[in-house]
Each structure stands twice: as C-alpha cells, then as structure tokens.
Symmetry: C2
Subunit: 160 residues, 2 copies
C-alpha cells in the first residue's frame, strides 16, 4: 500500500501535476477504502477527517484528474451518483460488480470473465474494445440466507 501510494504520486509528478496535501489525502482515502465504491460526497467526508479545510469542489477536481490518469474508474450503478473505484495495479480493464437489489451491497469480481466474450465481439462486430463495464444485479449470498434484510448501505439509493 505504501508502494502503491508512491506509485500514484510518481504518476502525478511525471505528468507534471502538483502533489498537494489535498490530493495526497484524497488518494489515501481511496486506498484505505478500496472495497467501497465511494461517491464524491463519501470521499469528501472521509478526506475532511484528515484535512478539514478541503472543499467538495477540490474532491471533484481530484477525482476527475485521477480518472483521466486511469488511476480510478468512474462508475455508475444507476442511482444518481458517480462512484470512484481504484484500478488494480496494472489492470487495464475495469473489474466486475455484483449489486444486491435487496440490501444494496456491492462486491467485486477481480477475475476477468470476459476473455472469450470479448474475442467474439471484436471479431463479429468489428469493434476494438478498450474497456468494459459489467454489473450483475441480483440477490447476494447473505440476503439469500438471511431472509428480508433491509438496506445496509443507505448511501446507495435503490436504482430507480
């Protein structure tokens, strides 16, 4: 994790972006919550704990920047907010997501499931694939056993 943060700092340097404390704190928050698909607001609140003077606009600007540098993926689960998901080191494809329509939890699948599918699409539709988004909506294992559990992740409003 130490290594990863230095790597990101380095990436900023190389592209001659300044490494401000705000950007540093934002990256730290993203690393500390890698599993969590945070919205800009979520990130803002967490960064505020480290750097109380930060403004929401700066968080948006930083996330935007990190998205352009392909350090995070901006994703969207159909509720009204963008979420920001750290790319795995060296990954050039976004990973997949399982969104539970009962409790709202989101989990990740690292494994690349689309190798065969992509080969087929590139060939049959003559489409040069650069990235993909794959999300499954359904019932997570916990909700399948624990009947009738209510929303656990209030920040994820039900996809309308």
């Amino acid at each position: 994790m130490k290594a990863r943060i230095d790597q990101i700092k380095n990436e900023l340097h190389t592209q001659s972006y300044k490494l401000t404390p705000q950007r540093e704190a934002t990256v730290e928050v993203l690393l500390e919550n890698e599993e969590d698909h945070l919205s800009a607001e979520d990130v803002y609140l967490l960064v505020k704990e480290k750097a109380p003077e930060i403004g929401l606009a700066t968080v948006y600007r930083t996330l935007e920047l990190l998205n352009e540098l392909e350090i995070v993926d901006k994703i969207n689960f159909g509720d009204g907010v963008s979420r920001y998901d750290l790319r795995k080191e060296g990954a050039n494809h976004s990973h997949h997501h399982l969104v539970c329509i009962q409790c709202g939890s989101v989990s990740e699948i690292e494994e690349d499931l689309l190798g065969d599918v992509e080969r087929k699409v590139e060939e049959e539709w003559i489409f040069k694939i650069k990235d993909h988004r794959l999300t499954f909506h359904g019932i997570c294992s916990r909700c399948q056993t624990e009947q009738g559990t209510e929303a656990e992740t209030p920040s994820l409003k039900a996809a309308r």
Copy 2:
C-alpha cells in the same frame, strides 16, 4: 409493431393504470426509435411533435412507470443522463451495448453472450442473478476505417 403497442397498452390496463394520450404518444415514440437510446429530453422533444401540450415531468413519470413495469430499461453510459431502452419482447435480460469512444455512437448486441459467465458467477459467488448490464467501450467499425471522424451524436457527451 402494432401488436407490440397493444401488448403494452394491455400491460398498463392489467395493472390498472390509465391509458392517457400522453402515455400512448410516449410509447409510440419509444417504439419508433427502438434503436436510439433516447434520453428523457430526447423523448420529450419527439413526443412534443405528436402531443405539443405534454410536459417534461410527465415524460419522466411515464418513463419511470414503464421502467417499473419492465417495459423499458433505464440505462446509463456515464454521461450525465439516463437513457431509456425498450426491452425486446419477452426478454428478461437487458441486452448489451457497444459505445464508441470516438464518435459516441451506441449499438446493440441482442445475442445473450453471458450464459456461461452467469452460470459461473451464480455458482462461485452464490449470487442469484436477476439482471445484468454489459457495455463495451471502444472504437466502432466505422471509426476504425474512417480515420478521425468527429462526434456524430452530440447528445452523448463524452463520458468524463
């Protein structure tokens, strides 16, 4: 198409929703533009040609209703707008999309490519899949040949 519209009307009836001229016009527009991934605004402008008195709010309400009845899918390609995509007759899974990052065009893949993948996910992650969203981002066949074509679909702002 005549059949499909009656089927949708029937669906509304069955659920005891009223069949107003506004709803009828909206459904017609969706059917006439099945290929087009219209935004609410797009739908509004098209419906206005048939029924000039309609309000944008009604379009939103109708699209929302059709989404709940699973007649349309509300989808999101990462630009700021929701798009509404008519489900194919009898389809219980959303189809797939190819979004060109050069010209912004969106095309569809009807074929279900995810059979094997879904079986694997359900088994290994113990996740009961109800629906999926699969979008590929890349270069469409036309842009691969015609070098440097500019945005053709101005309504699809580049995903930020």
